[in-house]
Symmetry: C2
Subunit: 566 residues, 2 copies
Amino acid sequence: MRPTQWFPALSWLRGYGPAVFTQDLVAAMIVTILLIPQSLAYALLADLPPHMGLMASIMPLIVYALLGTSRTLSVGPVAVISLMTATAIGGAGLETPEQKMLAAGVLALLSGGMMSLAGFMRLGVLANYISHPVAAGFVTASALLIALGQVKHLLGVSMDGHTALELAVSLGQNVSQTHLLTLGIGGVALVGLYASRAGLKRVALGLGVPDFIAGLLPKMVPLALIAGATLFVIWAGAGESGVQTVGRVEGGLPRLTLPWLSLEQVKSLLGPAALISAVGFVESLSVGQTLGAKRRESVSANHELVALGGANVASALSGGFPVTGGFSRSVVNFEAGAQTQMASVLAAVGIALASLFLTPLLFYVPKAVLAATIIVAVLGLVDLHVFRLTARFSKADFTALVLTVVLTLAMGVEVGLVTGIAVSVLLHLAKSVHPHVAEVGLVAGTEHFRNILRHDVQTRDDLLTLRLDESLYFANAKFIETDVSRRVAGNPRLNHVVLQFSAINSLDTSALESLIKLNERLEHGGVQLHLSEVKGPVMDRLQRSTFLEQLTGRVFLSQFEAFNLR
Amino acid sequence: MRPTQWFPALSWLRGYGPAVFTQDLVAAMIVTILLIPQSLAYALLADLPPHMGLMASIMPLIVYALLGTSRTLSVGPVAVISLMTATAIGGAGLETPEQKMLAAGVLALLSGGMMSLAGFMRLGVLANYISHPVAAGFVTASALLIALGQVKHLLGVSMDGHTALELAVSLGQNVSQTHLLTLGIGGVALVGLYASRAGLKRVALGLGVPDFIAGLLPKMVPLALIAGATLFVIWAGAGESGVQTVGRVEGGLPRLTLPWLSLEQVKSLLGPAALISAVGFVESLSVGQTLGAKRRESVSANHELVALGGANVASALSGGFPVTGGFSRSVVNFEAGAQTQMASVLAAVGIALASLFLTPLLFYVPKAVLAATIIVAVLGLVDLHVFRLTARFSKADFTALVLTVVLTLAMGVEVGLVTGIAVSVLLHLAKSVHPHVAEVGLVAGTEHFRNILRHDVQTRDDLLTLRLDESLYFANAKFIETDVSRRVAGNPRLNHVVLQFSAINSLDTSALESLIKLNERLEHGGVQLHLSEVKGPVMDRLQRSTFLEQLTGRVFLSQFEAFNLR
């Protein structure tokens, strides 16, 4: 491998000039303003102290900038991964806040290690097994769980639980304790965020603000709202008002640390770490590919695994928690004009400066405003379109989708995701167990053969052609053997059976044995067995067995030739 | 459902007459003679007292006779299931022999319940997921484990362990304690059994013995050897000789009992019970179908599940352990001329009589002779042919086979079987992730299209036809999208891309989304997308989406039509 393959950054660093730097710098400043509140909010969501959010937004960005293949992907804490982190830590039976912080670091370390290993082993292809409906259902259900969980900060009450039911029950028990001033602040923030999304750009354009700035204005609103709410809390007299605020945020630069727990506890985090790796990778790759397609850059799945793995290990070693490429932050980066990963490096510098100098200002940030920004962000991830699409298009996909959503809400993120993946794979397999077998005939005036039940076609009394609509393998070999025998059984005028292999893409040993048995059984009944339209790879394989010598009939290049046999 | 569907026995009981009864009676007598030593031997193998073997050979036969769809299958203890029972009991951490007996009953009860439930839910098809190479590998490895485990009885030493390594180490430590008289008896039995298999029938035929009796003679040898060895031990003075014998066998008829343990212990037996159900069902179904094919009887998978489930529950409730349809006993039953399951009912009566009156005779049966019969029986199950076949025919099958064998030997039956099944399913899935895509052209003088790399075909500069050799689903949708885009990219003269759908048997939502994206992407590049040879079921599904309206090109009935488009 060449150095640019190990460090894709080398390809854009060569010839990097002031013009591009200016563009990257502008993007970095805008992203930094977005990232500061986001980092705090996602740490809150992950049930961790706010400075871990800041730490997770410094070193991981720099490592990804060196190793990543996407030029505009922005890495850091994201909503779904933060929720999964909170669930994993909650389920590990840890007592003290210090242990929870260590566990978050261990999760990042483990999932970083797993991602890198998977990348080196070129296992990126495994991510394909999280189907789009399962991924969309999982994100939708997680978003609802996250939004529900944040209601406690909006109301200023306490709530417990990792499932929708637990959270709802807990909310019902505590809603009477609602702190009205907190609700007021949160409510204003919610309305402000939604209003700015809906109309701010249009209003600004109407006032003659340039298109570029008008488009970015709504992204600045969270920071403005946070600043306003913080000033209000200070004015109202923080302590006495009863509004919960972020409190003391440890500042300073990232320090090297190695998070670890007892071997038992680390083992119990292996499963959650694997799920976090899978979800993080799928989300990040999909964002990277979407952005890459717009600028005709190619994003390599296995390189991305290594790069995201490196970013997570960096997060763990510098006091952060699991990170991945996020949708909203990457889009902001892209739209703000970032040309290379230098924008992310500069954003990391921005966050580091904030961590050094601005943490005292964060003390009075009300949690209710952070919760409002989380709720608005995650409700944007809810995808109802996919329900309508799959309901109409594929029962299997719809089943997997609904199961994923229901189980994620009812039993938590881990059960929901694992069940969704397992069910979609099993339903895919189930389709191939009883394959479609079509009796075909000649479409008049052509050399083309179609199903006799759907088309007006010519057939021969002494020749039966069956098109087997599935690759033959152990799970359906017996079915095909029985089905073909059954179709031949009640047909005394038959001399020839042709199996049209146009839809058979592979063949395993069990299928070979079934074909041999079928050939023998038909031979006993005085019927010759022929094959037609056998594809190259399948023919190659058949030639490695003795089946072609045993075959009573012939192998025809085309079904038309087979149909004309005498 | 009609009564004969619930009780297939009704179909042969109607019109049952003395001629058939005579045939069944002869078969029953022969099977009984075989079953008495087999029942004792497999109880020994399962690490259970001998009378449990007799109990497992009475009620299960009667229940299967009523419910089973095979007329000649013989149900009872079999080697591999007995080994799995021993492993499951050994792994459950039980202390006393009484608890082990209860655990064996619980295993039969659980696996019987699972089988019946699976039958009622029509899940028999799931058995197809144990591919032939995995099943053959599992049986071969189990046979080797069983044979190795029985060496202790041949040598008269003690040995421990459930894996090949553990057994071999234990053998090495204890081999110096070998009891020579025991080894002598076992050795003579082994040689006698092999010699009778190899030549007894031929010798008997040479002496003018009728064919039918000559064929059955080798099956009688085990009982003769056991009788001879027992008389020898009595003559040699049992106690002083130091030869280990079966000892006191509790006699009498089966009594109703409900085996149960603590909830914790029952839970720990659920996994092993599921594996025992799966293996028992696959073995029995394969024997039933093989025999059924010879007499043109059909054996129904789901009925068989219910019947085998009933037989196991009956075994549990009458003091037995897990049973299934066995290969050797069923073949003996079939060859001895059994016409209906009445033969099994009569054999059950025979065993019951033996249990009532003959148990005192069993006291002095040397364990070494039983071990010799087990070793000879299981070594007949070793299948080396499947290694050669899969090595040549399918790397995936060979991998699954070797893993199953190695892990069964090295880590025990449960790990070996589960890994074998999982690996064969994963390797099957892996094949479809990077499907074969062939560029095809017209075979001159026909309307048939083949791969341009393998055949001499005609193509058009402005039209690219790609045959996609795999059903499209979530795991390969992205790959196809990228692969087709890549092939189009470097081809400026191209105006049309035709996707030949002849090998596409199904399409899920992810694949639909990839097709929509591909259509859009090609449209941007000024290239029309067409489909050809779309099968009925796939077309039905596409019509449920808006894709066909968005499609820039057309859907052609045949690839030849598509090739001639202007």
